[in-house]
Symmetry: C2
Subunit: 181 residues, 2 copies
């Protein structure tokens, strides 16, 4: 995987892909599936996400203040759903789903080798009323060699729309030339 | 358009489509393009979104506490981009882009006749540090007759991925049967 500026995290998350979130707590890595997330700010790149006490990853995220947001593609769709339907308190999900944890640079949570992009994140704030975490994206890794790049968009109930046709309307983006390239 | 339970709003927004947001302030409707939004809670349905003082709609949203989130599809992609690249302080965007404002039921902001879905929303909270509004979805309207249903996902710089293949993995969603149908 190749590191690119973290300011490009919005290109991975604004399109609304279902994502995986890794943590590492007392030495043990875990991974969950997440669909409630958004970009909050371009620079520095801030991300909002909902992780609640009902998620086994919640205590890890609270205690360590670190995670990795990994962007999976259609080739591991079934694993993405099944990761969201079992819990790290009884299952080693990296082993069960054949995912390869790789060392991150700034956080202890692992990157996922099988994902298109991995974003190393640090908790910078939270809004407890909504179990809303505010994360800063610190490092961004992209698997530039991978052929399959279609991400998944959750339409509810385990139904997903994969990325289809690409439209380039960049010539009409006259007001936003100042955003990070 | 047909009204369906607002609890289904997550099916429209969790997939991360680029959306339009309408407001009505002192009688004048306006519309902006938005990509920084997320679901925050299923029931009651809460939505987070970033609208800042740099957006002409910000003062309308602050003053009225009401908006409509409309979900456009690929047939109006160019209008979606151009709406995000001009401002309601100088342009009547409904007129310029040929959009049809339709009366909503619970809010003064208009529905957009050309969109696949329209969600009537009320501001229930905000986090000023991030220009983050917490909206409750009060009513949800779907154009059940429309053929073109492919939404758009913004990958940055005016490049969009449209919805492509659909994957039904609902049989693997064993943990989440309690979510609103």
């Amino acid at each position: 995987m190749k590191e690119v500026p973290a300011s490009g995290a919005f290109r991975q998350l604004e399109p609304g892909p279902i994502v995986l979130v890794t943590t590492r707590y007392e030495g043990t890595p875990n991974v969950m599936t997440m669909g409630f997330h958004m970009m909050i700010q371009h620079a520095p790149p801030l991300i909002g996400c909902v992780v609640g006490p009902w998620d086994h990853s919640y205590s890890a995220l609270r205690a360590t203040g670190e995670c990795v947001i990994a962007v999976p593609t259609i080739d591991i769709a079934r694993a993405v759903v099944e990761i969201g339907n079992c819990s790290g308190d009884t299952v080693d999900k990296f082993e069960r789903f054949g995912l390869t944890p790789q060392p991150a640079r700034s956080v202890a949570a692992p990157l996922i080798g099988e994902c298109l992009a991995n974003i190393e994140c640090r908790v910078v704030d939270s809004v407890e009323a909504y179990n809303l975490f505010i994360l800063e994206a610190e490092r961004l890794w992209i698997d530039t060699d991978r052929k399959e790049r279609r991400t998944l968009h959750h339409c509810g109930d385990g139904v997903f729309a994969a990325d289809g046709d690409v439209l380039d309307l960049s010539e009409h983006m006259v007001k936003w030339r100042h955003l990070p390239r």
